[in-house]
Symmetry: C2
Subunit: 338 residues, 2 copies
DNA sequence: GATTGGCACTCGTAAGCGCCGAGTGCTACC
DNA sequence: GGTAGCACTCGGCGCTTACGAGTGCCAATC
């Protein structure tokens, strides 16, 4: 038996199923894709594919549907990337150009990707841990509260309020601001902690409690590992992808809000070699996401600050989605670098 | 005919329908609520209520279901507020206490409300327009970009990047920072514009382009009317509220992402006299939201900085939801004031 | 005049049934 | 190895029937 044809059959099944959303049988298969053999032959191939776990039939006498394993093989070996059309590319660039700050860039990117893929788009904020510190600002909000604002070279702005003892001198705050900035500006977040640890000693003893509070606030803010923010768009697309979704929807929406699970997934995906990563159904290792796949790509230059991705039913158009995710990631990198 | 009983019947219908999610007939009505009359009598009342537009039957020979008008009457005249239990109140307070900054407070509040009501919770960020300016910070991100950070007395931090001409002197930035702050700190956002308009004249002519850019950035940021941010939580609750939702869900999710519509609604609701406002189904004046109701309450003191609310199917437990929304709004005000 | 019991009527839903057709696996054949 | 033929399975569709919940109306009653 021609091993090649078997793969062709799998490809055909995936493509057809994604398109029609219905189990695909041997007959329509030879009709729609010109495979050059008879349905009976295809049936033999399908029987084997089923035995190997790439496809299943929902019930006897129905067509076949790809399994997660089937999609996986499809993505790894069978899919050809669909390049985006020139107008599409132009639209992406133009849409992202208009942003006024980091929040805006991120927001536009995620909406854009949701729109392009017709699925749920997800983007991580540039990780604090690999950004360099640009500036730390201290603002006395009132007598008892100090606002610590941290600005990174990626344009990200983080804030935290610190309760302070009464009657702090403005001059002390000014000195502290100067010293903190002198000590840390330009450093990677992960290097900041050590440098700041020395700071209290350099100040007058009576100011040390305040200094310690501020130092802690800065370190904690930079350290909150998984706490990097996640922005989601296009949740409505999930509901539109089919009528079957009614019950399957809720757990996914919950996962989207939970963020923790998604963050973990995104981080794991960063390990992958290729410039994009795919997790299909159960590969997410998280039951509520069993019915969906995630495609993501790093952005922000070689250091790969963070990731942007799309999430949809396992029955999705992988080549097109992969193309869109990569394209948006690339443009996003370019904008952030510029 | 006893007018009072007719209202009792309506109340009973609403309560029963909310509980069971099924059209309610005359028989179960007399069984479950002890109305002291026979089903036939109830039927007469129901016929009248239907004629007056408070209830309808989905099809002949089904029970009755409240209309938007029916819910409205229920909310306005029939509902008794269910006070929250002491443990619930305590939990609210404790949960909100732990927040570290404004973002965190808002985030906790909205999640909490979603949890309490088992519905979608929505919160507006404290409006920039009624906040007072606390501090404006200028940070040179690189040679060609200046980051303008605006901090209000509500703890809100807004940022915007301004492209600037090359070779700006640090001293100029420092002077500008001092002048902007001197001119604006403590002012209401709406008063800032006039004051800043005078600023360029006070600086040297060669610096004016830069000054103008910064002034514009500040004014624009404070001015973006409807642009106040909106945070949503508990979207998954929508999907869980019933199996009927499949098709009805998508438009609502879209509206939640759109934000514009919700912002408008919230703003409108601020006009209402009572300390909470309710919009039921079509009262939202927005077709996609025809199936849902929104309950909201202002928070942030007498000035009512912004609103927090809950959104769910028109068939919701109004008394309980109203109680939760009001409670969270109250605690939120307290936290922000403290 | 309000309330009630009785009754005929409507109609949506569930269940049972038969048919059709898609799709399969198997086997004999090329 | 590929193909054709064939018997078989079974889900979906349409039809009919039965059931029952719920109604509106009317005459009787308080």
């Amino acid at each position: 038996m021609a091993e090649d044809r078997k793969l062709d059959v799998l490809r055909a099944i995936v493509e057809d199923y994604v398109l029609t959303r219905e189990p695909v049988g041997s007959k329509v298969l030879v009709e729609r894709h010109n495979l050059g053999v008879s349905p009976a032959t295809i049936r033999n191939d399908m029987a084997q594919l089923e035995e190997e776990g790439y496809i299943v039939q929902p019930h006897t006498s129905a067509g076949r549907v790809p399994t997660d394993k089937g999609y996986r093989l499809f993505v790894d070996r069978l899919a050809e990337v669909k390049p985006l059309s020139a107008p599409e590319k132009r639209a992406i660039g133009q849409f992202l150009e208009g942003a006024v700050d980091l929040d805006d860039v991120i927001d536009r990117a995620v909406r854009l990707l949701a729109q392009l893929t017709q699925q749920v788009a997800v983007v991580q904020y540039p990780s604090l841990r690999v950004s360099a510190l640009r500036h730390v600002e201290l603002v006395l909000v009132d007598e008892r509260r100090l606002l610590v604002v941290i600005i990174t070279d990626t344009g990200r702005v983080e804030q935290r309020t610190v309760p302070i003892p009464d009657g702090i001198d403005l001059a002390v705050v000014a000195e502290l601001r100067a010293r903190v900035n002198a000590a840390t500006v330009g450093l990677r977040a992960q290097d900041v902690r050590a440098r700041l640890a020395e700071l209290p000693e350099q100040m007058r003893p009576e100011d040390r409690p305040l200094v310690q509070l501020v130092v802690d606030a800065v370190v904690e803010t930079l350290d909150q590992e998984g706490e990097d923010r996640l922005v989601v768009a296009g949740a409505a697309n999930l509901a539109r992808t089919g009528a079957d979704t009614a019950a399957m929807l809720s757990p996914v929406l919950e996962a989207l809000e939970e963020q923790v699970v998604l963050m973990r997934l995104m981080t794991e995906m960063a390990e992958d070699q290729r410039d994009f990563a795919v997790r299909i159904g159960h590969e997410t290792q998280y039951e509520p996401l069993a019915g969906v796949s995630i495609i993501s790509s790093g952005y922000g230059g070689d250091t790969a600050l963070a990731r942007i991705g799309a999430l949809g039913p396992t029955r999705m158009d992988y080549p097109a989605t992969i193309a869109s995710v990569r394209a948006v990631a690339r443009y996003l990198s370019r904008i952030l670098a510029g």
